[in-house]
């Protein structure tokens, strides 16, 4: 009885998730009348605007990961080692982006950093790019921090640090050569997740008027029929690859002896 | 007719034959212990009685009713787990009331039952506490009260003392046994601790490799082990190799010295093992005892008992003597003579 209910529940879920995925794939193949074809993909991939926006978002995602690592790793390390009392505060701050809607955050950016403000970031393209980058880093903060903090939990941060210090290493060396390699898997998990979030992000890019993949998707959706489905398939594959990489690196970690 | 009957129980996990043709009859009100090392199948037998595992074949009857195909909830049993397993979201009183509540008993009866049980386990004032506010020993007593509240026909105890401190473990033994006697409830107790088994049980089933090696009261199990496994698993046992000179007359040779048991031993063996409990061996001895010379290798002081290890030809013998303030125990390196009565020697074949 229980098992029957469990199967029913599970299969219901599978059906709910499979239908839209099947639907979008099927739809993306229908561009040529009467037969299935890859025409929609050919059109999309050949579109210079697609190439430009996808490249822009990819670069943005990679930069976001770099910024995220630079901000999160030293902080998580420092809090674990020296300021355990500040932990709840830091954790609270890192969780805020899950509660404050991104649209509100970017709204704040537009007003706080407008052309007549003390830091007129929105005045130039480079400034706006930087702002978008910071926005993305903020969005990824909860995931990145959680991942890195979990990674630090599994290693003995204090002993590693003291051992490195006793060998004469400075802070930068300790972080880059000792701590980072040991939490690399955790950092990579956070990084792939960040990539998946940033690549299709819409609100921030649209409101900051940046030529990113998200706004391009919306533009296509408003004007084309079959291409959006093809784009959705591509976006889904990108997300899937990111998640696959996460489970791949986590599995890889299980075979490396944990430093203790 | 027995109150709880297990007949020809078998259990396979895949190709693994965990319980082999297990039979057991338990009388009403009896306290029976399944004793054995981990992996011997004792827990699987208990879980089959509880209904968590389905026997591959065989039958389980409780009070004349075949329960083999019944679900756990319909078997009318109570169970205490190793890790307490109290419901953390309920107070002590709510935990104890659980069985009565799901049975749909009236409010007044539930309250009375809970009060009675809490008195029985001597925690009458802790009904409002949550499990996390109790010590391990208190939690396990509450778990016992919960299992007993609905007056089940059979009580199953799955290593209930293993998670506790040594001191509480010993005091709870007596308490569980006293409550069991008071309620007269048929009980099956699973443990790997022979001391628990010997001190609490009416009967013990010693298990190994999915088979009951011996069934009997503690006195029998300890003093007349049926197999080499039982002899080795229950209590400390000294073994010395001996050559058979004359099986019919019971004459044997231990490292050059000849000894006479004064009774026949099973024929057809060239060498046998002589087994001796440490308390059956002395350093002085009485007339008629068998004597062997040896050298003391180790002396350990346990308070009321002093254990002296003596190396003799054919093996090493642990000798337990009572502490005596008037005479010092021997020192390591001293030459001594050990002595034991021929009737205390167990002969173990291969």
């Amino acid at each position: 009885m229980t098992r029957f209910l469990a199967w029913a529940m599970f299969l219901f879920g599978v059906a709910y998730f499979a239908l839209p995925l099947f639907g979008m794939t099927e739809f993306s193949l229908r561009m040529r009348r009467g037969v299935y074809s890859l025409d929609a993909y050919r059109v999309v991939l050949g579109d210079p605007q697609f190439q430009a926006t996808f490249a822009y978002s990819t670069v943005m995602a990679l930069l976001t990961i770099v910024v995220g690592v630079l901000v999160v790793v030293p902080t998580a390390y420092w809090v674990r080692l020296y300021l355990p009392r500040l932990r709840p505060v830091v954790e609270f701050i890192t969780l805020l982006p899950l509660v404050i809607p991104p649209i509100v955050i970017v709204f704040g950016y537009l007003r706080l950093f407008n052309t007549s403000s003390w830091l007129p970031l929105t005045g130039t393209a480079a400034g706006t790019n930087l702002l978008l980058l910071m926005g993305y880093a903020t969005l990824s903060l909860p995931y990145m921090y959680r991942a890195v903090d979990n990674g630090l939990r599994t290693i003995d941060v204090r002993t590693l640090t003291e051992a490195a210090q006793s060998l004469g290493a400075g802070w930068a060396t300790i972080l880059a050569r000792v701590i980072l390699p040991n939490v690399l898997v955790a950092v990579l998990s956070g990084a792939f997740l960040t990539f998946a979030i940033v690549i299709g992000e819409f609100v921030m890019a649209a409101l900051l008027n940046r030529p990113a993949f998200g706004p391009y998707l919306q533009l296509m959706g408003a004007n084309k029929a079959y291409e959006p489905a093809a784009l959705a398939v591509i976006a889904f594959v990108v997300t899937w690859v990111c998640m696959g990489l996460i489970s791949l690196v986590t599995r890889f970690q299980k075979f490396t002896p944990a430093p203790r | 007719m027995a109150f709880l009957e297990l007949s020809a129980l078998q259990k396979y996990f895949g190709a693994n034959h965990v319980v082999r043709s297990f039979d057991l009859d338990v009388a009403k009100g009896e306290f029976v212990t399944l004793l054995g090392p981990s992996g011997c199948g004792k827990t699987t037998v208990l879980r089959m009685v509880a209904g968590f595992e389905t026997p591959s074949s065989g039958q389980i009857r409780i009070d004349g009713r075949d329960v083999t195909a019944l679900r756990t909830s319909q078997r009318d049993i109570g169970m205490v787990f190793q890790a307490y397993a109290l419901f953390p979201n309920m107070t002590v009183a709510e935990n104890v009331a659980f069985g009565l509540r799901v049975a749909g008993r009236p409010r007044a009866e539930i309250d009375a039952g809970v009060r009675e049980m809490l008195t029985l386990i001597r925690l009458p004032d802790l009904g409002g506490r949550y499990p996390f506010q109790l010590s391990g020993g208190q939690q396990q007593r509450v778990a016992l009260a919960r299992a007993l509240a609905a007056r089940p026909k059979v009580l199953l105890l799955d290593e209930p003392l293993s998670a506790l401190d040594a001191k509480i473990r010993v005091s709870l033994r007596t308490e569980i046994r006293a409550i069991q006697r008071q309620l007269g409830i048929t009980t099956i107790f699973v443990t790997h601790d022979q001391e628990e088994a010997l001190s609490m049980s009416d009967r013990i089933v010693v298990m190994s490799g999915g088979v009951a090696e011996q069934v009997g009261p503690p006195f029998e199990i300890y003093n007349r082990p049926a197999t080499r496994f039982v002899a080795g698993f229950v209590g400390t046992l000294n073994q010395i190799a001996a050559e058979v000179i004359d099986a019919g007359a019971g004459r044997l040779a231990v490292g050059g010295a000849e000894i006479a048991l004064g009774r026949a031993i099973p024929p057809g063996q060239g060498t046998v093992s002589l087994a001796l409990r440490p308390e059956a061996v002395g350093l002085g001895g009485r007339p008629g005892d068998i004597r062997l010379a040896g050298e003391v290798s180790e002396v350990s002081f346990h308070g009321s008992v002093v254990r002296v290890r003596v190396e003799v030809a054919g093996g090493s013998i642990a000798v337990d003597t009572f502490n005596n303030a008037a005479s010092r125990p021997p020192a390591a390196g001293e030459r001594v003579e050990i002595a034991f009565a021929p009737s205390d020697v167990l002969i173990l074949g291969d």
């Binding site: 739809f27 701050i93 706080l112 489905a229 976006a235 | 909830s73 890790a83 799901v102």
Partner: protein, 272 residues
């Protein structure tokens, strides 16, 4: 520590505070409640209300279905091999939000979508005739569930793992049916976690803009779409009102979380 504080201060705290302060600042710089009061128009009230309803229902169904699926795999006796793939898929689907998700549902349940056409040609069922429209609150809830359910599966799994096998066995020996065990033991123990998940799912849906915009353009009047339009073109005709609108969103998401934390500490009394 310093880089973290500068970063979050500059790009998380200050921008939000700017909005909060802006909601109470009159044109001359003084304090005013006029913007907040200005929210009390039928259009804005309605936008909030629709938003809350969508978030509430998608969070509720997301919690229920996600819990059901996770429980089915973890405790329902399904083969253990299903667990890994389900978790990986949940990771993918919970992040497959935004524009692309809307496309997937348009291709499936939209006017020319796979399921819509199939039901019409094979069974003669016209979804539209039954009042179903993907570009509506119901459609939005169904679409949101695509990321809400997997998110629930991911965050409730650890709590489900925390349910000890012995609790269930103890309940069974005491005569409880599976249903009684679930109602009296499992759900009360899970309840705090479920509340926390509900709040997270609520906030998750409440802040979602991209899916709604791609799905409905700006035809559906919900708070984030209204705010989006306001930021783009000041459709409300008052910058202060925009701040107030944003503040309202933060407050609602915040209240949902505070409420769940409060209920959680109350229901967690047995864990200190």
């Amino acid at each position: 520590m310093a880089p973290f504080l500068v970063f979050t201060g500059l790009f998380l705290i200050l921008p939000t505070l700017y909005i909060v302060v802006g909601a109470f600042r009159a044109t001359d710089g003084g304090f005013t409640l006029q913007h907040i009061a200005g929210l009390n128009t039928p259009a804005i009230r309605n936008a909030y209300w629709v938003s809350i309803r969508i978030s509430f229902w998608s969070a509720l169904f997301g919690c229920a279905i996600g819990l059901g699926m996770a429980a089915a795999v973890i405790h329902g006796g399904l083969p253990g091999r299903l667990r890994g793939p389900l978790m990986t898929f949940s990771g993918v689907a919970s992040n497959f939000a935004g524009i692309a998700l809307a496309f997937a549902f348009i291709a499936t349940l939209g006017p020319a979508g796979l399921v819509t056409l199939w039901l019409r040609t094979e069974f003669g069922v016209n979804l539209r005739a039954y009042g179903f429209n993907l570009l509506s609150t119901t459609g939005l809830i169904i679409t949101y569930l695509f990321f809400q359910i997997p998110l629930m599966i991911l965050i409730i799994a650890p709590a489900l793992d925390g349910l000890k096998r012995e609790w269930r066995e103890a309940a069974e020996t005491l005569g409880a049916s599976t249903f009684q065990y679930v109602r009296m033991v499992a759900l009360p123990i899970l309840f705090p976690s479920i509340l926390g998940c509900f709040a997270l799912l609520f906030a998750n849906a409440f802040g979602a803009v991209a899916t709604a915009i791609a799905l409905t353009g700006s035809s559906l009047n919900i708070a984030p779409i209204l705010l989006f339009a306001q930021i783009r073109g000041d459709v409300l005709g008052s910058p202060g009102l925009g701040y107030a609108l944003a503040l309202g969103m933060v407050v609602i998401a915040g209240v949902a979380n505070a409420l769940s934390i409060w209920l959680r500490t109350r229901s967690e009394k047995w864990l200190r």
